[in-house]
Every structure is written in C-alpha cells, then in structure tokens.
C-alpha cells in the first residue's frame, strides 16, 4: 500500500494536478485584483491595510508555486507554500462557517454570483472539503519526497 501511495507514477500526477489547480485558480484573481480584494474583505479576517496587498500578491504566489510544481523546479518549496496557503484557506473559511458569515470563497472565481446565505454556507463546506483533499495531495508529495530523500 505504502509503495503504491508513494509510487513515482502517482507522485508525478499529483504534482501536475496540484500545480494546474493553483495556476487555474490564480488567473482570474490576477486579472481582477479589485474583485479579489473585495472577496478578501468579505472574510473579515484581514486588517484593512493588508487587504489590497494580499489581493495583489497572493495570486502571484499561487501562480508561481503552481508553475514550479508543473515544471518540476523547486518542487519542495512550491509544495510547502501551497500547503501553507491551503491551511490558511481552510482556517479562514472554517472561522467564517463557525460565525455564520456567508461569503463567496473567491477561490476560482472572483465575481459576485448573488447567492443566497444558505447556498453560500453549503458551498463553503464543500470548499473546506475540497481544500482538505488538496492538502492530502500535498501530504502525498511530502510523503513521497521523504521516501526518496535517503538515496539522493
């Protein structure tokens, strides 16, 4: 089992998929920073002075980390950054779920879709599960990387 889960065949696919997901997620945010700033504002977790800066920088870090995974350059650093980002996303959405603040995730789309409170809460739960799934992918990369470390 362990052998299959850390097999290079799986690892390379996880790496490409995770990289692609982050590149795809970054593009709409890079294209429209004001909308993404609005999304970040809606989370009510980021101090006012940092909202615009994080809206500008975060998508570029996502894009570069995603590209690094796809290209196989600086894989570990990119994987770690993506893991940190995912952890932040999961915590941020969970805090808002906990305090019943229904928001749009802003993960892959930054347009306001005019959803109802209930739709948003449901989608936020789905987003947390999806992000946990991606965190598992990061875990796989980490595990496989650890196994291949001693010989190299």
């Amino acid at each position: 089992m362990k052998r299959y889960l850390t097999h290079p065949w799986l690892t390379i696919r996880v790496q490409l998929a995770l990289g692609a997901i982050f590149v795809i997620a970054a593009i709409p945010k890079i294209a429209d920073p004001p909308s993404f700033a609005h999304m970040i504002y809606n989370y009510r977790l980021v101090p006012a002075s940092l909202i615009n800066l994080s809206a500008l920088v975060m998508p570029w870090v996502e894009l570069l980390a995603g590209l690094a995974l796809i290209l196989g350059v600086w894989k570990k650093a990119a994987r770690n950054l993506i893991g940190i980002l995912l952890a932040i996303f999961i915590i941020a959405i969970s805090i808002n779920l906990f305090r019943d603040n229904a928001i749009d995730c802003g993960c892959f789309n930054v347009a306001d879709r005019g959803k109802t409170h209930e739709q948003r809460i449901f989608d936020m739960k789905v987003d947390v599960v999806r992000d946990l799934g991606m965190l598992l992918m990061v875990g796989q990369l980490w595990w496989a990387g650890k196994r291949e470390e001693p010989p190299s």
């Binding site: 700033a37 009510r44 980021v46 800066l53 920088v57 570069l64 950054l81 005019g114």
Partner: protein, 251 residues
Amino acid sequence: MKQNTIFQAVAIVAAGIILALVANAFASRDRKVSLVGTYPNALKVPAREVPAAPPVAPPVTQTVAMTTQPSTITVQPTATTATQPTATAAIETVGINPKAKTPAAPAPTTTTAPTPHAPPATPAREFNAHPDKPYIEIAYNDVKALHDKNVLFLDARRTSVYEQGHIPGARTYSVWESDIDDKVNKLFAERNDQAAQNLPIVIYCSGGDCEDSHMLAQKLWGIQFNNVYVYKDGFPDWQQHGAPVHTGANP
C-alpha cells in the same frame, strides 16, 4: 537541504511580490488597486440580513404609495454608528492630497445642479442634512424623488458593471478601484463650502448584501458630506421599477 527549501520558498514569495507590484503599476484604471486600502469595517462581521425582507418590502411600499401620499414614506435610519476617527483620517487624505485632476469624461456637466428651488408638486419629505449619521437608507420612492430633483447620484459598483447600465446621471465611484480617493477629492473640490456639502447625494450599488455604497457613504461623511443617502435595494430594484437606465461610460 532544508535551508535551501526555505530560501526557494522565500524567493517564490519575493518574486510574487515583485510581479504583483509591476502588474498593478501597469494595470488599467479599473483593474488597479491602491496598495493600502481604507476599509473601516474590515474586521467587523456584518449582521445577517433577514432573508425574507427584500422580497416582501417592495410590494408593501408600493401599496403604501398607492393608497396614501408619498409623504408617508418611511426612512429607516441605519444602525451604523460610525466613529469620527475615520472621518478625520479621510479629511487628512483630502487635505494633503488635493488633486485638481479633471477627468476625461464630461461628468460634472450633468448632475451637479442641486435643489435651490422648491420641490415639485408632491409634498415629498425633506432631505435635510444629517451630520450625526454617515448615511440614511432610502427606498425607491425617495430615490426617484431625488433623481427627479437632479440630485447627484454615485454608482459604487465596479466600472465594468456601471458601463453595462446605470441610473442616468450617476457617476462611477467604485470603492474597490484605485482612483476612488482621487474621485472623492474631486467631489470635495467641487463642493467645498458648507452649503454644497449639505446637498443630498444618493449612492447605490447592487442591493441585497452589497455594502459598497455604505462604504462610499462613510468616506464622504468623513469629509463633511452630511446629506448622503444609500439606495438600499440598489440598481436591480431601480430596473424592477422600470425606471430609465443609461448604458456606457458616461453618466
């Protein structure tokens, strides 16, 4: 080995910061953000709106308008008790940086004419200055009355949305775009005496839980605009009432 990974991660973040700043510097006006934004309620979780209220409200106001005079329109003062520090900060921004930049669009020509003359036939409610509150939320009937009086309207939605259709005469004032402070400064320069600042201004966005207009109202209140109204149900409600809509980049 491990140190190398940390260095690479830092390098990726640094490259991200540089690319972000360069991209923002070259971004078009409506895609650009100011590096440090001013959002008074950034950490304040909004109270949940009663979901049944918006669909029920319009029919009620309509029946009231049918059976009684428009003078019975109720204006609900908002629960917002904004603090003056925000205001002072905004005044400072304006004071330090009074850019007398005139925009390319012929914005000032259309809607600056205020209300020195008496209101029209219907005894509508009076829209007096309210320095104690940043804004008062109003519904369609009041909005229409003010629009008929050529009061200044500001559209707080994104410019791209504004161009697809807006209330005739409204100027685009998106709070998320980088030039908002310039626009606010310009308005301040236009209306720089007490009397002009007490003229009504109506701000709207897309209704529902949209709070861009409230944010803009706070900004204006901060620089002594004491008679600001927020069209609570916003542009969708305006369209629902079949009121005129103007498309394009000009007011």
